[in-house]
Symmetry: D2
Subunit: 287 residues, 4 copies
Amino acid sequence: MPRTETAILRIHCPDQRGIVARVTDFIHQNHGNVVALDQYTNREEGRFFMRVEWELEGFLLDRNDIGTVFGPLLGKPLDMYWDLKFSYKIPRMGIFVSKSSHCLYDLLARYEAGELKVEIPVIISNHKEMERVAKQFDIPFYHIPVNKGNKKEQEEKELEILKNHRVDFVVLARYMQILSSEFVANFPNSVINIHHSFLPAFAGAKPYHAAHSRGVKIIGATSHYVTSDLDAGPIIDQDVIRISHHDSVESLVQKGKDIEKIVLSRAVKAHLDRKTLVYNNKTVVFA
Amino acid sequence: MPRTETAILRIHCPDQRGIVARVTDFIHQNHGNVVALDQYTNREEGRFFMRVEWELEGFLLDRNDIGTVFGPLLGKPLDMYWDLKFSYKIPRMGIFVSKSSHCLYDLLARYEAGELKVEIPVIISNHKEMERVAKQFDIPFYHIPVNKGNKKEQEEKELEILKNHRVDFVVLARYMQILSSEFVANFPNSVINIHHSFLPAFAGAKPYHAAHSRGVKIIGATSHYVTSDLDAGPIIDQDVIRISHHDSVESLVQKGKDIEKIVLSRAVKAHLDRKTLVYNNKTVVFA
Amino acid sequence: MPRTETAILRIHCPDQRGIVARVTDFIHQNHGNVVALDQYTNREEGRFFMRVEWELEGFLLDRNDIGTVFGPLLGKPLDMYWDLKFSYKIPRMGIFVSKSSHCLYDLLARYEAGELKVEIPVIISNHKEMERVAKQFDIPFYHIPVNKGNKKEQEEKELEILKNHRVDFVVLARYMQILSSEFVANFPNSVINIHHSFLPAFAGAKPYHAAHSRGVKIIGATSHYVTSDLDAGPIIDQDVIRISHHDSVESLVQKGKDIEKIVLSRAVKAHLDRKTLVYNNKTVVFA
Amino acid sequence: MPRTETAILRIHCPDQRGIVARVTDFIHQNHGNVVALDQYTNREEGRFFMRVEWELEGFLLDRNDIGTVFGPLLGKPLDMYWDLKFSYKIPRMGIFVSKSSHCLYDLLARYEAGELKVEIPVIISNHKEMERVAKQFDIPFYHIPVNKGNKKEQEEKELEILKNHRVDFVVLARYMQILSSEFVANFPNSVINIHHSFLPAFAGAKPYHAAHSRGVKIIGATSHYVTSDLDAGPIIDQDVIRISHHDSVESLVQKGKDIEKIVLSRAVKAHLDRKTLVYNNKTVVFA
């Protein structure tokens, strides 16, 4: 689908009459050609959400002026949270991983194939095992072991590395350490985790053991933005797979990997396409 | 969700800049409060699709004048197909059925529970078996047997009955007769069928036998608008269920019933909510 | 599939070498024709599970003697829990319901259509609303209102009614009262509930509100045998449906009904086919 | 799950009384400890299918004698097709691929992680693009371009390469050439293909274009053993994903990749675990 570069505007604000009309009119008056628009009103909370994407070619406002004009004209008067991005700006993603390779390989294979519009400048791990995978894809790898005593200083090292590599957001591709609130505060709604259960069921450690013990007939995986509250951040995507009494913990782990990697990659793609919008600890994922 | 009555406008037209802005501005200028809006552009075909629903309370135009104003103002200039409905107008649904009760019961149980905003004034069958179900729900039942020789005259009877009961649309709840093109022409995009396969696989008769013979690992059901081309009309919804080599044709028939009735009822609901829009033999199903 | 009546034997016991050989040899020596056999070993727990079904026609042992012979010959020596049923014995199912009709209608429609090999002699409710549905299907209906003060005596009434109608097992088709441990003790592994969430997520009251509040992307339903531990009994079946931010609590309730009724009916069918076997608070569901 | 090496016996034969008893008795008499047993009778065709796996440690027969004894004792008298494998014999898999990397990466990532008990001695392609992926994983890569004129001789080259690398079975990981019947005859039930549609819907070329054109609401992928009849071989596994009118052909291709790779890898795993058994162009996949 060859197209010109686009502007992507995401907003949420108190609901009132005429928001769509006013936002689309702003684009229309400036000769913008809308290529995607999705909006939704949460009527219980009286909150309006919208994502609109339009072609920059032929748009009357210079891209550097769009926000400057939009803010006072609509953002402020309608009490909006708003965020403006441009499709030509490729986000830089840092990957954290521990010892399991399935999510890492899935992300790197998509990266290599050009499926994801992203740069991957760095992989960080608390173990050495994944260094060989990083080498296969020629991506700088940092081994930062973490234990109870050194967590604070190691996180500072990690932040330094992410800063040096100008990382925009972080993906925890089965990283088995809990990040501190201080760390997470550096990347608001920009750390994506994959949890190997159908949250909120089986939060915390060893979810497949817990699922097996409970005798569930379906297992799942959940990708979410990381907040300071463990496994309780806004959910981006989930998926499930049917199991049976035949499955041991080992086979649950094995089957679970297939949904973990797919769900994580779908969440990363939604984030990259700027289709997510967090409000009130929930994630709107636009069409 | 207590709300006032609403107007529902569905349009499709050649794509061009500013359609959303112009349509929402029309509503906004007349003090309409949009409660739902979904739009989408088929870029390959250069076609724009939109559904917008707004509250009638406080709207400046009288409901009888909305179309009269909208047509010349936007419909004509933008070369639109458009359709305007009001939520207080409850559609009248005629049901055709043969001998299987599962889809019929599912529809009637939802009707009785108030799940479907619909009137069901009449049930027609080419067999007598379902008369007892019709009686359970106090709905007039007509037995119109069909064979090769009498099809034309029997369809005329059926059309007469539907007319007398002021039926707006027809649901084939496992009706095992093929309706003639002449019959269907009376209800354009208003006859909903459930086919017991994942179309286009296994179109025609005995799809479960064919599925069993082919050794598929998943079976499905498809609801679609009926056209003169058998099992080839625009698809509204589909769903599937996993099977295995353990399943005989009988167990496929049994498992299939569960998806048939759910898929048909979902399609009927989408139709009742005026969320479907047919173009080029495909169905847009709005959010 | 026309076939003669069958015997169904379900066993579990400590695993050891040769159990399948010895059990199938017992059937073979008595000229039994096996029509279904499924077995599985839980290797972590060292426990063996098996279900075997064979034709009674031509079997050398009289049906009344099968257990008498099998017990001392294999049951006792192998330290088995074993259970023998005959296909000609149709189980009698009591239904408990509150105000929602969807699960009730689904069960009754299948009953009427002959999908379930069951008798339904009685429907009990703590409300009056479902009496009209019971009447549609000509099934005796008892209105037994329950409040904090009268629960014990009302449960005694219910047990009396179930006894009078010779009920073998009970299905809670969205019955919104918690049964006492004393009540449940009368029907071990014979009270089937449908919980409107993907357990163990959202156990307890108002699961759709909780799901909406948490922002999950998939909702589910769970059928399980009732134990004295609320929503924690052995799971028979589960299923899920994808939702989105568009869904309000009301639409979750609506979409949830479709999976609740299907999951409950599948669990009832598994129970009727004597395909379930409970051990250690988990349910083996044989193929 | 630490266990000793096992023997895996797969059989199918005309159904008759006592087959399970006789086969399990054979194992039991020789002190074999059964770790998995699954059997099923196709009653329409009167055919019996069974897979049984037992520990070799402590088995009274030498592994080289098992077949020699089993054949005359049970295989011949019961008119069986039977196949005996040992878990310590790791199969050697050749991969054919064209230009798409998603299935190739998925297989190689699992191989590298030890998920698949397999050797991958060789990758063959009609294009050069995947050579870099082969290099990442240090696997010999052969570029064998195919056109209308050279197909026969190129297939001979391929067979020579497969023979030199002692390949047991072949996986077509999105290989966009049709193999000749002569080639396939060298690997009966041992060439696994992934077709990017829910077969039998959209067999042949460009299934995503066809799915888009038909307006289906769900797309799928199918893995099957290759026979001389294009896209009509025995199905091993299938899966599907829900789509909508929003999806262009490009996004179908993209979403389809996720199910293609998972379905292919599941099929390869079933084959490696010796859980598949082909009869009458259908695949029994044991539990």
